[in-house]
Subunit: 371 residues, 2 copies
Amino acid sequence: MDPRVLRAMATPVIGHLDPAFLAVMDDVSQFLRQVFRTRNEFTLPLSGTGTAGMEAVMVNLLEPGDEVLVGVAGYFGQRMAEVARRAGARVQTVEAEWGTPLDPDRIEAALRERPARVVAFVHAETSTGVLQPPGPIVEVAHRHGALAVADCVTSLGSVPVEVDAWGLDAAYSCSQKGLGAPPGMAPVTFGERALERIRSRKSPVQSFYLDMTQLMAYWGDGARDRAYHHTAPISMIYALREALRLVLEEGLEARWERIGRVHRMLVAGLEAMGLRMLVAPEYRLAPLNTVVVPEGIDAAAVQRRLLDFDIEIASGFGPLKGKIWRVGFMGVNAEPKNVLSFLAAFETALREQGLRLEPGAGLAAAAAAAG
Amino acid sequence: MDPRVLRAMATPVIGHLDPAFLAVMDDVSQFLRQVFRTRNEFTLPLSGTGTAGMEAVMVNLLEPGDEVLVGVAGYFGQRMAEVARRAGARVQTVEAEWGTPLDPDRIEAALRERPARVVAFVHAETSTGVLQPPGPIVEVAHRHGALAVADCVTSLGSVPVEVDAWGLDAAYSCSQKGLGAPPGMAPVTFGERALERIRSRKSPVQSFYLDMTQLMAYWGDGARDRAYHHTAPISMIYALREALRLVLEEGLEARWERIGRVHRMLVAGLEAMGLRMLVAPEYRLAPLNTVVVPEGIDAAAVQRRLLDFDIEIASGFGPLKGKIWRVGFMGVNAEPKNVLSFLAAFETALREQGLRLEPGAGLAAAAAAAG
């Protein structure tokens, strides 16, 4: 994390109904609107992690018996379906192989057979490194009268997220990836159609903690009386405000370009080392790179060796367990020099595991790609 | 907050599956067991505020259609009933006037008419300043085959909480009151009977985020593989560990005694000023003191004046709105000198509002009560 964010974490705590703190909340909502590229009034950070954001969107938009279509092309798509089931919804899934994107035509065919109130998909699938093009899915959802909901946990702040331009009805993210705050908060945004859906509910939202109507009575600009719902996690909100300030000072476009440049360096280096990316070029998620483990290499041993250099990469989930590594460059860590140190350490670890590599080829290619 | 806790908040973040962080989690669970006075393995901080703790206990222990009895003698009892209803339970309440404790005989009579799986009550009712004697309610619940669940949001770390000695089956609290960490985490503990109930569920827990079985696969001592559930709020957990260390360094008994002494000073001072406490002496909650607003005094104006001295006290809720002030002395703030500054400022504000007071009488009585 940026030292400014760490310092904000240590700000002495004031009351969660103190006027000075309410001004901090207004800043956070306004900054989140800028980052989500939305004018949605209902834009705020929930007091929980990204999974709480997912649950909030599902339990507020769905009532028991509602039909929902969930696109599943990885672990977080599966989780969306599971959360929707626990909200009492009738869930149909449209699947795609892990490492590939969802096919909007198959979603449309499914909706034609069985209409749904909500179409939910993962914009940036953390388990596979696939960036899902959102436009066609939103278009299909709306054509069939469904709300379109996206998981932006690994995209927000790293690659373009355009809630209003894309017509997303609700989206959620986390604080610790592209935004560079500590983990523990879930930015969410709900558009007018989603609010209409919430207002016309026949049953109460099953979660009191995540009930958006009540949360907006505390957070909303219109809510000058700031109705008590739960004690806000003050320190986290200070930290998130500072992290959002850093994002906006850099500028979203400049940040996307920085993450993209680091991604291109990394891919150039890995491919020059003879390694293969899991995802086709047009669907790669810049901040989260999935690298195929070469035949005969012990993926976990490589990860352990990298820890000697204070470099932590993640393993694959589910069907990709042991088959890929997940290499993240996001927030303050997405810097060219970190790509070089990663590639140097990675080359070392792979050679120790017996992989034959041309020394320095990856580094040279990455450096060349830096321009 | 203590500066050591603030410093812990600013610790650079490491991975939530990093072995170094798993050791921090083990510390936190162990310290929480000491603070809750329990040997319950299932003892951990949830990634949410006290309200998330309440919801976790309800949605894990209750299935749709289950009978639950909730004791309601204030706002947080009402909230428990509401959360249980949203979990699909059939809720009966036993009420008591706000400012008085629940009557265990009335709970027993209600259970005789209509048995329940769970009896839930608030140990320390933040809205009224009543400390509920837990023993008789737990005894009645168990005699009628129900689990006993307590809200310890405002008691844990300030007054005795004895989960095992009292036989509580589940309890929850928050991080920011008696424990002195920032708000944002909810310590919970579940005993063997509660776990048995969870294991014998026929339906999944409606909240994925708060599903205790999954959370224990990440947190549990037995869970050496640390199954991923959600990204832990690393910084908050560092801060909570440091706050718990401070509690245990001071010693629970010494801490209770310190809070109690400050409470006695405060009450002596207020009564010498001619003010009246809402709650009868034997049911007063030491860290949260409820003072009756004298006839003709504008409660909100007094609170605003206190802010000039950086002193924030809270107003009444619901039926007590405008009728009481809530004055908290907990954590690092429960110090004799803070009682004196509060009484001095309070006397000033009340005199400005036209209340006739003998100058300095409150301060003298408080000082005398300090011993």
